[in-house]
């Protein structure tokens, strides 16, 4: 690194890059995950699992490669984002592997072990992160693709409509030989790019050229119209695909970004009113939503009558049985939840086997990821970077809240996956990409100001001795 420079009055301060901190933390995250494997193996079979070395090395390799990429291509990036993501990914792998060991699952007819696939997907995710860092030298490049992003996002959202529904939601596309992809996960990032690009350009118009109406600032249609249309369109698609979680996510992200761009509180009010109206509207005609609400209000009342209620009740019982300290990895019965235990409901296993203590730790890890994202937004020097960072971290926070709140019965269950933790290729790949972009923005934001070129005119300061 540079640079204690010459004699100019402005000397660049050598900002600490914190890369070594990151390396230690990544190693720590890998170690924790390896311990989790050992724990599962000892609890279930009484011996260290054969796969522990493979998964441990795999995870270490992923963390190491990602770290080297960051060290090389984004040296000033936030040192916490990568270790936190590695920790969640590693912990998720261990828990998915633990659920693979469940006899109950192994006896079901279509059982496929998910852990090894998840490791593969994680590798793809880290590869995507490296590509993001490699290709995206400056996040502002993304600004150029504002409208292309819009088209790409809409395309990705529409695509699943042409594929059959899986478990009541049309959010998957099936590519023969590759498997199923959930395009919504990627659309989340791409639409954030569009929102950021559009809002950055139009934010002054949106904030200032508006009419006051009943204490609220209403912007001109020509400013708001296009973005409102895109957003409404995507929500509609998601509603028709019964991907409620994602529609909530898109909505939340939109409101957050709009609020940050315009600095107008009225948007929050506006957004809440609209979401209320939207939720009630959807709930009146969508039986899927009604079931979820019934299951949320009293899961035990619907026991034996409504599958959604039963699943919800089983999830709550899993959390309850974990208690304060949990049963220990591999020693719980969270697999009683059955279908979706390793995806939507993976948090129930954390709750049961790691207990309240583990849940708080995991939630705080998620909180930290969000906090680092928001901090990146704060630190970013350009409005596009700020908007994109807050859009991505805001959507991350909302996703965590919607999923965790759903499985814990805080809000109705809407069906999304816990970022990094849950089994699911699209989710883990997309979230690594998301972390990649945040790392890129944070690198740009934290990079020290370039040292001024040394002035040829400057001379050595003369020392006058008496």
């Amino acid at each position: 690194m540079s640079v204690v420079t010459n004699t100019t009055t402005i000397g660049a301060i050598d900002a600490p890059s914190r890369r070594n901190t990151e390396l230690v933390l990544v190693a720590f995250a890998v170690l924790i995950s390896v311990f989790a494997y050992a724990n599962v193996g000892l609890a279930i079979n009484g011996e260290l699992p054969a796969g522990m070395l493979g998964y441990g090395l795999g995870l270490a390799l992923l963390g190491g490669v990602a770290h080297l990429a960051v060290r090389r291509f984004a040296p000033y990036a936030d040192p916490l984002l990568l270790p936190l993501a590695t920790l969640l990914n590693g912990l998720g792998l261990a828990i998915i592997w633990r659920l693979d060991q469940s006899e109950r699952f192994q006896q079901t007819p279509n059982f496929v072990a998910a852990a090894s696939k998840q490791l593969l997907f994680s590798a793809a995710g880290v590869a995507l992160l490296v590509i993001v860092l490699l290709v995206l030298k400056d996040h502002r490049i993304l600004q150029r693709y504002t409208y292309i992003s819009m088209l790409a996002a809409l395309f990705l959202l529409i695509l699943p409509m042409f594929f059959p529904a899986v478990n009541g939601a049309k959010i998957w596309i099936k590519i023969p030989g590759v498997g199923t992809i959930q395009p919504g996960e990627f659309a989340k990032i791409i639409i954030a790019v569009f929102f950021a690009g559009y809002l950055m350009v139009k934010r002054d118009a949106l904030a200032l050229a508006s009419r006051r109406f009943m204490g609220l600032y209403l912007p001109r249609g020509r400013d708001l119209g296009p973005i409102l249309m895109v957003w409404a369109f995507s929500i509609l698609i998601l509603v028709f695909e019964t991907d409620l979680g994602s529609s909530l996510l898109f909505f939340g992200m939109f409101i957050v970004m709009l609020y940050v761009a315009t600095e107008r509180t009225s948007w929050i009010v506006f957004g809440l009113l609209m979401s209320g109206a939207g939720a009630v509207g959807v709930a009146t005609f969508e039986p899927h939503v009604q079931q979820r609400v019934t299951a949320w209000l009293d899961p035990f009342a619907g026991w034996g009558k409504l599958a959604a209620s039963e699943q919800m009740a089983k999830s709550l019982m899993a959390f309850g049985s974990g208690g304060t300290l949990g049963t220990g990895l591999g020693q719980g019965n969270s697999d009683l939840i059955g279908f979706a235990a390793n995806s939507d409901f993976i948090l129930a296993t954390v709750g049961e086997e790691l207990g309240l203590a583990g849940m708080m730790a995991v939630l705080l890890v998620y909180g930290l990821v969000v906090e680092r994202g928001v901090r990146t937004a704060l630190a970013a020097r350009d409005p596009f970077g700020k908007l994109l960072a807050i859009g991505l971290s805001g959507s991350f926070a909302i996703q965590v809240f919607v999923v965790a709140g759903g499985v814990m019965g805080l809000i109705p269950l809407t069906g999304m996956t816990m970022p990094f933790l849950a089994a699911g290729g699209s989710s883990v790949i997309a979230n690594w990409a998301l972390i990649g972009i945040l790392i890129r923005i944070s690198d740009t934001a934290r990079r020290p100001a370039p040292a001024p070129a040394p002035s040829p005119d400057a001379e050595m300061t003369q020392v006058v001795r008496p």
């Binding site: 006899e103 109950r104 957050v256 609020y259 940050v260 761009a261 600095e263 035990f300 026991w303 009740a313 709550l316 019982m317 959390f319 309850g320 049985s321 974990g322 208690g323 304060t324 019965n333 009683l336 709750g351 207990g355 309240l356 849940m359 708080m360 939630l363 705080l364 998620y366 909180g367 969000v370 906090e371 928001v374 937004a377 704060l378 409005p383 700020k386 908007l387 807050i390 971290s393 805001g394 926070a397 909302i398 965590v400 809240f401 965790a404 709140g405 814990m408 019965g409 805080l410």
Partner: protein, 485 residues
Amino acid sequence: MNKPLRRIAIFCGVLVLALLVRTNYIQYVRADELNGNEHNRRVQIERYAHERGNIIVDGEPVTGSVETKDSDFKYKRVWKDGPMWAPVTGYSSQAFDSTQLENLEDGILTGNSDQLFFDRTLSMFTGEKKTGGNIVTTLDAAAQKAAFKGLGDKKGAVAALDPQTGAILALASTPSYDPSVFAGNSLKDSDARQKLLNDKDKPMLNRALRETYPPGSTFKVVTASAALENGLYTDIDAKTDSPLPWRLPQSTNLLQNEGSIPCKDASLREALRWSCNTVFGKMSHDLGNEKMMEQAGKFGFNKEVFTPVRADASIYPKDNQPQNAMAGIGQASNRATPLQMAMVASAIANDGKLMQPYMVAQRQAPNLDVIYTHEKEQLSQPLSAENAQKVQQMMETVVKTGTGTNAQIDGVTVGGKTGTAQHGLNNSEKPYAWFISYAKTDSGSPVAVAVVVEDGNANRDDISGGGLAAPIAKSVMQAVLDGKK
């Protein structure tokens, strides 16, 4: 743009905080409620995750646990000689809960009882595998075997007690069932259970405790006790005031005897020896319903008995005069369980003291520490020692030279009473054969037995307490006596 960003940061913080509060709420505040929820399968999984303790007879377990692979319930209950012990142990099924000792002593058997708290805490530190405690019963394996073998493929029941302590020595009921066939939770188990439930012979009915029969002539010892206790007669060899034929009160019907036996003004001893209906019918009438009820009550009638397994209440009801007279010979609305009649015999054998019947001698912690030992306990004193000895003399005459000669044992004093209880409308159904008895040695009586055989297959003329039931009682008494030597 930083001000709204900071607000968004706070908003995200609130979201995470809400999740933290929620997880505390469900995992700490509501944890117990969720764990106790009726739908929570973990309760059952935990219940069958450890080896269940055993029910022990004569130092040997009659139960066991086997590991199963076909479900998430790890251990399954098995029984040795299931049909023989089922009336004692009850069943414990993964799918159908449990009954009797398996149910009542579940806390000890699973190891979850509060009595085992210290033990559990200790093994938490020593890292010992959790297992259940044991229940040591009072039963006598040889007596139980004699009872079960004696009943054979006949329908019936045997209850045997130690008169001096109240310990239950045998408790057999036939036809029986093997609890092992539905101990699991597979379809096969539920089919096996359904088959047992549909069986018209009711193999799952514990006849020794849960079926009441008309006690027939065996009830005459209660009537005789009442007469002695109430001073109606004092000398068992003195003539009674008993006309023959005797007309039932408020009725034109004459009470009949079985055959032409010498019952006119017969002494108590002779009347019991020949089982005179006329003498005891009139005696019951002379004493009146209230005194008869009172005496029956002292023997344990009219209330449930807990051994700790519940036995149905035997009944001596409030009734009109002719019914009361008939009840005096065990042929009306009074009904008794085999256990009840064994209690009657044991109270007489124990010089009038009725001991509380029980079958749990000890409860053991998983490490075999004894955490409970039964102390013998007197339930009541139905008759004075003097009167008890008089009734003993009468019952011994029955076995020596009366209707109960089939129960004689060489070198041992045996007292008994036969009974042939008619039932059904106009006595249309085949009668029940009863026999109650006790054996006596120098150190008091070690065993009292009640046997009932409700055999629908036997030829009607062959059915008599002396013929069908007495040999079974004899073999049970013999088994206990042999064990004492």
